[in-house]
Symmetry: C2
Subunit: 112 residues, 2 copies
DNA sequence: AATGTATACATAATTTTCTTATGCATATAA
DNA sequence: TTATATGCATAAGAAAATTATGTATACATT
């Protein structure tokens, strides 16, 4: 959990990937799901999450639907059509990045 | 080359890994070696490299040796004893990070 | 009744880490 | 003489985070 800084720059891609899998999610749900699938390693802070969601929405990558749950509010986010294409690009870049970093830190295992 | 932002936070680890393999290197050499081993994908800019080297030196992770090559100057950097331990930690964190990101972007292939 | 934890949103101040631009200087090739 | 390569450095600005704070409801514990 001290290697949080390595995740710098990856947050948007993580959000997009989760939304590709789950159709629609709200902010708090994204933080919890991320904690689960990373076994507690990655804790997305609210100060990082909400500005990121707002930015993706402003760019037209995500669209939002506000829902009342009892007396609480939820803002569900989902990929727009444009967002779906964008997600494919981001994931391709992420895979390229991971491959390159693997090659750097573990050159013996990277057969290529 | 448009996914440079994914490398945010990884620069120090990359430098340390190269120095673990090469004993001593100078700044310009690090940029060139990195370009080579990443097939041109990662271009470390001078504005990022030199401040990073100075910081690692100030922390006692690297030590420097200035050498004159003809009329030019080179500053060779190498790991200190403390830096060698630090490098092992950073590499372990990097591997954990890569594993986690693989799991997120490619859950089907991550058998674990 | 009070306190802590969980759910759910948000933003502001600050820090870290880059990019971009600029500067100095030598060497070599077009 | 102009461009490219080698080699260092820093300053201004942008991006993306951390940390701290705020509002509000709900439930469990002391």
């Amino acid at each position: 959990m001290e290697n949080q800084k390595l995740y710098k720059g990856s947050l948007q891609t993580i959000i997009l990937k989760l939304l590709e899998e789950n159709d629609k999610m709200y902010g708090y749900e994204i933080t919890q799901r991320t904690k689960e699938i990373t076994n507690g390693e990655l804790n997305i802070t609210e100060g990082a999450l909400y500005p990121a969601l707002h930015k993706l929405e402003a760019e037209g990558t995500l669209e939002v639907e506000v829902v009342s749950i009892g007396n609480r509010m939820r803002k569900y986010y989902k990929l727009t059509e444009q967002g779906t294409k964008e997600t494919a690009n981001r994931l391709a870049e992420m895979k390229e990045f991971l491959k390159t970093m693997q090659h750097i830190v573990n050159p013996k295992l990277s057969l290529e």
